[in-house]
């Protein structure tokens, strides 16, 4: 029953009734909507007076009408183009006194008006959809949505209005009056008030996780608070030759000031020079002219492996060798143009184990434990190349989301040409791996 018509005030109340807050015990209301076709004001006008094109037709006498005159009529412009396309009228451009419009047919049937009349009578459904859309396009017809609420008496229906309390107060507790009061229902679907809090940076939260993993595995944190590094520690000590592409201007940030490093452990430097240029320790070396000037050049470090080199050198200077496990997570710099997948500054994660007799199997086992702690268990290893490790392996993991194997890290066993000049004992192997935090 359309209650709204009987109680118009009630309709207003329903509209203002906020559905979520509605107490379901007093009244139950269900919302439904229906659609109906109605005439626009213009459509109504046409039902009254006839369509523009019909009116145009009617206003043309037997001898025709000058176009200029026709255009002055209220329905002139709109009606004329429609009448022309319906072929109800024709235009004689060369008539005397200017272009003249004549009736092209004897009589016309104002089908548009007929259709609109049907709609007005509530029989819009009898029209074809094509017609309805055509009239809607001409803005003569519009679809109206009607929302109705079906209301029923609820379980706690009463004709008296009781006031509901919102919350407990200290007075109610003290006096015990809460026992006799009705409380408004809570709307559990709404959100609460978020506490005012600060936030940690998401990338750094991941860094904290990695730190935790390394510490759990017994790895000691390396001091990496030096962004500026000399080419010596960043490249030469790692057995990366001086003409290697990575040392190019376009991959590495070189410093203008301070341009050169001044202090090196000279004995060690001499051994590094020798292994590059002449070989030694069972290696042929690279056989090129090693230049001190090149090694002196200061750069923004391209990897934290430079720090690992410093640490391994320090380890080698100890009287007696003790096995070590090191890690670092810190910033590195590459001279790249920025785009969606490349940054000039990013964070590198590195792990290093130095001990007697470490094998490739040990490296793979360590990686498995490391990645398992990250929730990555399916691993595959692929042969790769780094100037300072041999064998080298790229680490791949299966990504469920992307449904393919993706690279998650790089690893290898440091070359003897890097370790032996430092003074590490012959049987000591150093395995290492790295990945980027951002990935």
């Amino acid at each position: 029953q359309d209650v709204a018509q009987k109680y118009p005030e009630g309709r207003l109340l329903m509209l203002n009734y906020d559905p979520p807050v509605r107490s379901p015990q007093v009244i139950e209301a269900e919302q439904r909507s229906s659609k109906r076709w109605e005439l626009t004001p213009e459509g109504q006008e046409i039902v009254q007076e006839g369509s523009h094109e019909a009116r145009v037709f009617d206003s043309i006498p037997a001898e025709g009408l000058p176009q200029s005159e026709l255009m002055k009529l209220p329905s002139g412009k709109v009606g004329f183009s429609k009448a022309m396309s319906n072929k109800w009228v024709r235009l004689d451009k060369n008539a005397d006194g200017g272009p003249r419009i004549f009736r092209a047919v004897e009589s016309v049937r104002d089908s548009v008006r007929e259709k609109l009349q049907l709609v007005q009578q509530g029989e819009a459904e009898s029209l074809e959809e094509k017609d309805r859309n055509e009239l809607k396009k001409r803005k003569l017809l519009m679809e109206v949505v009607i929302k109705t609420y079906w209301i029923r008496k609820g379980s706690a229906f009463s004709t008296t209005v009781t006031k509901q309390e919102t919350d407990l107060t200290p007075e109610m507790i003290a006096s015990g009056s809460w026992r006799d009061l009705k409380f408004k229902a809570y709307n559990f679907a709404a959100l609460g008030i978020m506490p005012e809090s600060g936030h940690l940076h998401p990338l750094l939260k991941v860094r904290t996780q990695f730190r935790q993993i390394f510490l759990e595995m017994g790895f000691t944190e390396m001091p990496t608070n030096n962004f500026i590094e000399s080419s010596f520690w960043n490249f030469d000590a790692l057995f990366q030759p001086q003409q290697h592409p990575a040392r190019d201007q376009h991959d590495t940030f070189f410093l203008q000031d301070p341009a050169e490093a001044t202090d090196f452990p000279m004995d060690y430097l001499k051994r590094v020079k020798k292994i590059h240029s002449q070989g030694g320790y069972g290696s042929q070396g690279y056989k090129y002219d090693w230049k001190l000037a090149e090694a002196r050049k200061n750069i923004l470090r391209t990897h934290t492996t430079a720090v690992s080199a410093r640490m391994l050198y320090r380890l080698a200077q100890q009287e007696k060798f003790a096995p070590a496990k090191y890690f670092s997570i810190d910033r590195v710099f590459r001279n790249e143009t920025l785009d969606a997948t490349h940054l000039a500054e990013f964070h590198q994660i590195e792990g290093v184990v130095a001990d007697y007799g470490l094998t490739l199997g040990d490296l793979m086992g360590t990686l498995r434990e490391f990645f398992t702690k990250l929730g990555i268990s399916q691993l595959r290893f692929k042969p790769a190349y780094n100037p300072y490790t041999e064998p080298s392996m790229e680490v791949f993991s299966y990504h469920q989301g992307l449904q393919k194997w993706v690279e998650v890290g790089n690893s290898g066993v440091f070359r003897p040409e890097m370790l032996l000049p430092m003074g590490l004992p012959e049987g000591v192997s150093v395995i290492a791996w790295g990945l980027s935090l951002e990935r």
């Binding site: 600060g198 904290t208 017994g218 944190e221 096995p323 086992g365 692929k382 041999e390």
Partner: protein, 562 residues
Amino acid sequence: MPTVSVKQELLFQALGRRYTDEEFDELCFEFGLELDEITSEKDIISKEQGDGKAEGASDIILYKIDVPANRYDLLCLEGLVRGLQVFKERIKAPRYKRIMPANGDVQRLIITEETAQVRPHAVAAVLRNITFSKDRYDSFIDLQEKLHQNICRKRALVAIGTHDLDTISGPFTYTARPPSEIRFKPLNQSKEYTASEILDLYRTDSQLKHYLHIIENKPLYPVIYDSNGVVLSMPPIINGDHTKISINTRNVFVECTATDITKAKIVLDILVTMFSEYCEKQFIPQILTLMSCFSETPSSLAKLLTRMCLKSHVTGNGNNIEIEIPPTRADIIHACDIIEDAAIAYGYNNIQMTIPKTYTIANQFPLNKLTELLRQDLAAAGFTEALTFALCSQEDIADKLGVDICSTKAVHIANPKTAEFQVARTSLLPGLLKTIAANKKMPLPLKLFEISDIVVKDSTKDVGARNQRNLCAIYYNKNPGFEFIHGLLDRVMQLLSVPPSKESGYLIKAAEDSAFFPGRCAEILAKGQSIGKLGVLHPDVITKFELTMPCSALEIKIEPFL
């Protein structure tokens, strides 16, 4: 990683079987290659220049394969196929032998001392009775280009020249002459030019213009002549037209001139061994003895290595292996290189995983430990952590803060790609201000912090600079909120157990600083030094960073509190 483009059809023909894309991808994974892209000439042109230009281009499927940067023997179809076939035990590893010419006369290349001034070294070889097809010829040219780009470091270290031996006669002379005295018809030109004219001629050539600088300003230019004075080439720029090779060439004279003799030999070896499918050259066997380091018998180890083109057999008392290193494997310089190859042949994923028995107690780096603790508490205090770049423009740390760049003791970068990376930051403040500028739509107040490193010059360090761990916080709102920043400082000191006292704790003293509003700036003294400043930022600073609201800031160094 260098990329080699090979026609799929040719590849399968040479390998003797077809592969599905997945099968080939798997083979590459095992061997250490990466199938980067499957495309065609048409696709490439389409991507680079649009579909219109791609009309009529070849549809032939190309495989783009990434090869390790140190494997020059895999830079062409011939090398890839050879490596894979031996790996899969379908062919035996080839042995390269030098053969004497039929008439017993060996070609000679005489190097004169003038070359020492510009390009001292040269090596040469002859490929006899070679048969080219269009594909082989293209491959020959491509390999030279790949080598030029990689190991030759864009012709600076080594330059390759290949010549039709039948158009010239030895002995050949490699010398250096003043540019005006060198005259010849360069490749594909119609007349003769002097050397200087040639350099001018190619100044606008998209390929060759990059190499002119290698010899341009030298008094003498390198040049190779035959016994009749015919110019073979003017390395590293261009060959002579007279000796150009074609598909019909039967004998090729290869010369490599260089500033690095080791690399020249490697390049020559590669070029010659790759195309000696069609002729042969001898190698110098290197005998290495290896002790087994994974639990494989010496004989199975020898078998594994042979699959990697490192022919091996067991010697001595059955515990040693003798390995022949072919000239194609310039990357083998130590026994560890051989071990990697053995592991690859064994299959990395077949190796048993073990955990090292290394027992160590872990230690945190104290500065990082302190940083982690402070971070947590600053977030708990209602501030949001930011992560900003360590590199910035000069203005960011100087002009925008009202100081001169020279007084900042900043580290300057020599080759930044943009002005945003001119210097390393000497303060965390610019980064945080830029962060706010990028987040103006966020609701106020904005409370940010960062605990991270800045960089300053320090002549006591071996590299001349050091990092310093700073803590910086800013409060940005309709009112400057100095009391909040001050309160944060008090809280930080409380966390560090530093009491607000002159004698044993910290003290705040009024100070002046161009970055702060006059009268609203203070210095913080603790541990016997000034550890930083706090205050209301100067309106100039605020506008220079494109901000509109008042702002107060705090920046201190935390290393004294370790």
